[in-house]
């Protein structure tokens, strides 16, 4: 099987899905899951070869002239991500089939999910920056469709739009970053980038490219201060939260950082930017989760925190940190997917996600409770789950961080304590504690709804129990892909007594103590949040959007003001400035004043025309203006006659007579001239007019003295009589050589005549 076929199959399925609901019903998920499951098995089968260090590449020509190809690059990192996306995706599809039972247009929902799956796999297997970008944007779009799935609800639409705008902004920045990144390499292929990463680091494009790419990655992975779209995205149905907004899509930013670490990483700037954003996000996310009561929002903020941890670890960049990042990524995807699916199950069974309104669920759904508790244990980082190994590695990495390791370690310690606190709170408050009155008796979720959570937890457990045989082969090549030359650390559940184990114990102890005093802690956190984090980020965001809309409205009003003369003025002023600059820089105009070729009668005609022009412009009477106009017309006729334009003169005379008659007829109905503009406006317009007139004058002088090419008229002169049998060449050109032009001209006149006729007719009708 080829990766392209897998992607095509998924895309095809996503198109097909909306039409299958009638035939497949709720079981559709089971059938749809076959394709991702097959893909999962295929990637699993690649693992032995990948672990021998092989990289699979395919390349399909797309836009070769721009260095853009549809190419695939599959290494350990791609395989790990693909396994997560397809494996969790298969369970999500089964889960969604039953979870969405009561929703309308379920088929479409499944289609969006599969579309997302295809684009996410596309991101992680792409071998070309532009291909990555295309799939990256597809994930944003499918995320938008999924968050806004309950489109009758305004908050769902708002959250979807917010997520789309933020990730879309990031996507745009990312494209810019990719283009800049590609410039020094002259190519967008990952293989080119990896073969000589020093090219970009020594280029002065490094800084802008890095900042833009980080903007893309940070928005996608919900880093502070862009984190707020993720809790907002919880408006989506639970399968979406479990899949996109915890396990996969939000990790796309992390993936990108990991993917480009060999190219962009290793510099001070990279290290500091990632560490600062990562550590802030890690702590802020955890802190904000304390005061939440909505189960999904709690999980969303803890996801934000986990994403911050991942960014921090990649930024730290030591061998331990990269190992920890990959293990934690796996850990987090497994437990967070489980928790979100369970959150959906709990909501389904009890009708609420508010943890204050939940309690005593253990006796109703013991099996589901055990599954969820195991996931929470993994989140708290308690053995024997894989979460424990992840947390140990993170502590190890943080304590060995190259700079500010005490600060990072303390922030990490607090974060982990909050995670322990949350795990205890969710476990004890939901499954034990005071039991509220449920509308209907909660029961165990059905097989399809528990299958996914169960398997993910079991995998997490097995990976934790047998890390060397199971977790190591999955992750070692991914680690080497992020940082070539680094080795995978042999994972162990038990490391012996050391600082890290002490920290772990301390974390758990602090979490337990915090849980004991939860009421004062939560009320204190609420007070602090009210005082310092009063402004909701999403509200600020929407206010910014509103201001932006007002601004654009004003801008449009300023530019599209609706006054014809100011549009014209803009054109004239800009054109004359540009032309005058050109004249200023160009060759000087050579004036040859030869009075011998200035016959006095013609000089008089020119003077007359100029005088008539001035009088037509300044005339206070319309009739004077019109008479002046006809003087100009006949003056020009004389010029035509004097310089051998006989046909022109004849036409001009006829046209002038017609024009004067017509103008007079119209003028009869129009009111007299009124002075509309003041002296200032007149002076301004006169200045603009003289600027334009001036450059046209220079143009004539230049054009008269520069014959660039042999005139084409020679042909007409030679063949006018021999081919068209006409002696008047101008006539022959019009009616013979360019007959079609003349036909077009006649058509134009006919249409104008029709227009004139209908306008006059129309007036009469209104008058009646």
């Amino acid at each position: 099987m080829n990766i392209g076929i897998l992607l095509l199959a998924l895309l095809f399925l996503s198109v097909l899905a909306p039409f299958t609901r009638r035939y497949l019903g709720n079981a559709a998920g089971w059938i749809f899951a076959i394709i991702p499951f097959a893909g999962f098995v295929w990637f699993l089968g690649m693992l032995p070869e990948i672990n021998r260090g092989e990289v699979f590449t395919h390349r399909y020509s797309w836009l070769p002239a721009y260095g853009i190809d549809f190419s695939f690059y599959i290494d350990g990192l791609s395989v790990l991500f693909s396994l997560l996306v397809l494996g969790i995706g298969a369970f999500i599809l089964i889960y969604a089939g039953y979870y969405m039972k009561t929703y309308p247009m379920k088929g479409r929902f499944m289609g969006y999910l599969v579309l997302f799956m295809a684009s996410m796999v596309g991101v992680v297997v792409s071998g070309n920056l532009i291909t990555i970008f295309v799939f990256w944007e597809l994930t944003s779009i499918s995320s938008y469709l999924l968050i806004g799935y309950n489109h009758e609800k305004p908050e769902a639409r708002g959250a979807a739009l917010q997520a789309l705008l933020i990730t879309g902004f990031g996507g745009l920045a990312l494209l810019g970053g990719f283009v800049l990144l590609g410039i020094p390499f002259g190519d967008y292929e990952l293989t080119t980038l990896f073969s000589n990463p020093e090219v970009i680091k020594s280029s002065n494009l490094y800084l802008p490219a890095l900042l833009l790419i980080l903007a893309g990655a940070f928005t996608k992975s919900a880093q502070f201060p862009f984190h707020f779209w993720l809790p907002g995205a919880m408006a989506a149905p639970s399968p979406v939260s479990a899949y996109l907004h915890s396990a996969t899509m939000v990790k796309a930013g992390i993936f990108l950082l990991a993917r480009l670490n060999p190219v962009l990483g290793g510099t001070e700037l990279w290290h500091y930017l990632l560490s600062i954003f990562g550590v802030t996000t890690m702590f802020v996310g955890a802190w904000l989760s304390i005061t939440q009561t909505d189960l999904k929002r709690i999980l969303a903020y803890s996801t934000v925190s986990a994403l911050g941890t991942l960014v921090l670890l990649i930024g730290t960049g030591t061998e331990y940190a990269i190992n920890a990042a990959i293990i934690f990524l796996l850990v987090h995807a497994l437990y967070k997917g489980t928790l979100f699916m369970m959150a959906g199950n709990i909501e389904k069974n009890t009708g609420t996600r508010d943890i204050n309104k939940l309690g005593g669920l253990f006796k109703y759904m013991p099996f589901a409770a055990i599954v969820m508790i195991l996931a929470l244990v993994s989140m708290a980082g308690i053995p024997p789950m894989l979460g424990f190994i992840g947390k140990e590695l993170i502590y190890e990495a943080k304590s060995n961080a190259p700079s500010a390791h005490w600060f990072i370690l303390i922030a990490g310690f607090m974060t982990n304590a909050i995670m322990v606190f949350l795990s205890m709170r969710l476990t004890l408050d939901i499954f034990w504690g005071k039991e509220p009155a449920y509308d209907k008796k909660p029961k165990e979720p059905s097989l399809a709804l528990i299958l996914g959570p169960f398997f993910l937890v079991v995998i997490s457990l097995f990976l934790g129990l047998f890390p060397k045989t199971m977790a190591n082969p999955l992750t070692s090549q991914a680690i080497m892909a992020i940082s070539p030359g680094m080795a995978a650390i042999k994972l162990k559940l038990w490391h012996g007594f050391n600082l890290v184990l002490g920290l772990s114990a301390l974390t758990i102890a602090l979490g337990v103590v915090a849980y004991k005093y939860r009421d004062p802690i939560i009320s204190m956190a609420t007070r602090i949040n009210l005082k310092y984090f009063r402004e909701e980020f999403s509200r600020v965001f929407f206010r910014m959007i509103d201001y932006f809309l007002i601004y654009t409205k004003e801008q449009t009003k300023a530019i599209q003001h609706g006054y014809h003369r100011f549009y014209l003025m803009t054109v004239f002023v800009v054109a004359s400035i540009l032309v005058w600059i050109q004249i200023w820089n160009g060759d000087p105009v050579i004036l040859e004043l030869n009075f011998r070729d200035m016959p006095l009668n013609l000089v008089a005609v020119v003077a007359l025309i100029i005088a008539a022009t001035i009088s037509a412009v300044v005339a206070h009477s319309r009739v004077v203006a019109l008479i002046a106009m006809s003087v100009i017309g006949f003056g020009i006729t004389i010029i035509f006659i004097a310089y051998s334009g006989v046909d022109l003169a004849i036409t001009m005379v006829l046209v002038e007579i017609l024009m004067v008659i017509l103008a007079m007829a119209v003028l009869f109905y129009l009111p007299k001239y009124v002075k509309y503009s003041g002296t200032g406006a007149r002076m301004r317009d006169a200045l603009i007019a003289s600027l334009v007139g001036g450059f046209m004058m220079v143009l004539v002088l230049q054009a008269g003295s520069s014959a660039v090419q042999e005139p084409v008229s020679e042909f007409f002169k030679q063949s006018s009589y021999t081919e068209a049998f006409g002696r008047n060449i101008v006539n022959v050109i019009l009616v013979d050589f360019r007959a079609f032009d003349t036909l077009g001209e006649i058509t134009v006149l006919a249409i104008a005549a029709l227009g004139i006729f209908s306008m006059i007719k129309l007036t009469k009708k209104i008058k009646i």
């Binding site: 006054y563 003369r565 004036l591 040859e592 200035m598 013609l602 020119v606 025309i609 022009t613 037509a616 412009v617 100009i632 020009i636 010029i639 310089y643 051998s644 334009g645 036409t651 001009m652 046209v655 017609l658 024009m659 103008a663 119209v666 129009l670 009111p671 509309y676 503009s677 317009d685 603009i688 007019a689 003289s690 007139g693 001036g694 046209m696 004058m697 220079v698 004539v700 054009a703 008269g704 084409v712 008229s713 020679e714 007409f716 002169k717 030679q718 006018s720 002696r727 008047n728 060449i729 101008v730 050109i733 001209e745 134009v748 006149l749 104008a752 004139i756 306008m759 006059i760 007036t763």
Partner: protein, 113 residues
């Protein structure tokens, strides 16, 4: 003579621009007419100034070298006729504009919207 024509064409273009920037819609049409005149003359002058030798074939030896360039004249002829069409249409449009809006002030049109 070229120099004088340059001045003439410059003045005609200046007048056209000035009239196009006026608020009275009738002056706008006058501006269009000026624009047509100016451009016709520009083409005519750019085609070369030939005195007393129209482009007729009269079988005089060496006439082909001496006669005026027929191509610009053919173009101008087309332009004159087209500008007649445009001007006539514009004039009737002005008439129509006034009979509907009862004003010839273009600014009032923008403000009414």
């Amino acid at each position: 003579m070229l120099f004088l024509f340059a001045i003439l064409i410059g003045v005609l273009y200046g007048a056209a621009v000035y009239l196009l920037l006026r608020r009275n819609i009738f002056k706008l049409v006058l501006g269009l007419i000026f624009l047509g005149h100016a451009t016709n003359l520009l083409l005519f002058v750019a085609g070369g100034l030939t005195r007393g030798f129209p482009s007729f074939l009269r079988d005089i030896p060496g006439e082909v070298e001496k006669m005026a360039d027929p191509l610009p004249q053919a173009l101008i002829l087309t332009a004159i006729v087209i500008s007649l069409g445009v001007t006539a249409f514009a004039l009737v449009l002005v008439y129509r504009f006034y009979s509907v809006t009862k004003t010839v002030d273009l600014d009032e049109l923008s403000e009414n919207e």
